[in-house]
Symmetry: C2
Subunit: 206 residues, 2 copies
């Protein structure tokens, strides 16, 4: 989950370095989630990480840089969670169901993701846009592959991809971030959303 940190030009070369970097990113997640970007501080991050202030600068130039790295790290984490849950033998609709299920589970484990990605809209608009453009493209490729395989309709494109992404993001918002007693389990949510994708919400006798 740390490969995209390379963009800072300070990617660690040793296991120990990678562990320290991971500690800094995890600490930054908590610091930004608790205080928001503007009130978060580098010293707050190093204190939570249990490393010296100077160590921070071995990896990042600034609070902006670690925030940017964190958004990228979370994008990578979402992608990886989906990838790990998927299997080459799955059909196109099953892929979407399993990917949503994996996203809900990832968000439940990393509830800060909404706050941090959403704050990127203000702190780092380019990362924010790139986060969604990347996920949207990935979904679009999956839908097109499903069309080519004959399981999905022909000609699906970015409208359908952004519709699917929006469904997933808002189901996470409602059932993870704003979860309520009595909500259905993630499996049921993913299945219902998948039924919508498979057949729509029409009664089938219109």
């Amino acid at each position: 989950m740390t490969s995209d940190v390379a963009m800072t030009g300070k990617e660690p070369r040793t296991d120990r370095g990678r562990k320290t970097l991971r500690k800094l990113l995890d600490a930054a997640t908590r610091e930004f989630a608790d205080h928001g970007f503007h009130d978060a501080s580098i010293s707050g991050i190093t204190r939570r990480a249990g490393v010296a202030l100077g160590t921070f600068y071995t990896y990042f130039d600034s609070k902006d840089a670690i925030f940017r790295a964190l958004v990228s790290d979370m994008s990578t984490g979402v992608a990886q969670a989906a990838r790990e849950a998927l299997d080459p033998a799955m059909g196109a609709l099953e892929i979407e169901r399993v990917a949503l299920r994996a996203f809900l589970a990832f968000a439940a484990e990393h509830k800060e993701i909404y706050r941090i990605i959403d704050e990127a809209e203000f702190v780092d608009p380019e990362s924010y846009r790139e986060h969604y453009e990347t996920i949207g493209s990935r979904i679009e490729e999956r839908l097109q592959a499903g069309g080519e395989a004959g399981e999905l309709a022909q000609g699906l494109g970015s409208v359908e991809a952004w519709a699917v992404m929006g469904m997933n993001v808002f189901l996470g918002l409602r059932y993870v971030i704003w979860a309520r007693e009595g909500d259905p389990p993630f499996d049921v949510i993913a299945r219902r959303a998948n039924d919508l994708l498979a057949r729509g919400v029409g009664s089938g006798h219109s």
Copy 2:
């Protein structure tokens, strides 16, 4: 679009008062969109509105209060735009298509809506949540009415409603806020999203 301002307890009783309030809200929209909540100022708002600083306090107690009123005003605006586009004779699927079309047009006219609603997540989390809970409930009622009328499937609920809301919000993000040369017109976007709702994305021969 100003009825919800009543919650500030300072709703104007005269036409002139309502006009001034409208001016303040429109000025606040621009001020918050340009500077974000933290850097926006009451004097910036009154300057843009062309009213005296003291006039502000006839309507609002604080910057927080006008921000809250603005989120509520935008929620009301979205609802009203949808309502004006709808017709009692429309079927359930047509209602969703027309509501999305109206939302895209509203967002195109009020591009600040995304930035302001999204900033509410940080400035005023309760308004943020209420904005989406309200829209989600409205969509859920429409879907259930469609089920009762036999046009939509039985048993649609909040999973489907939040899925539809997420679709709409993300289609607005992509095709209004991040619009690109060559994008399809809103009618086509609304029709494609509606096809997804009506029949899903399956090829129909699985």
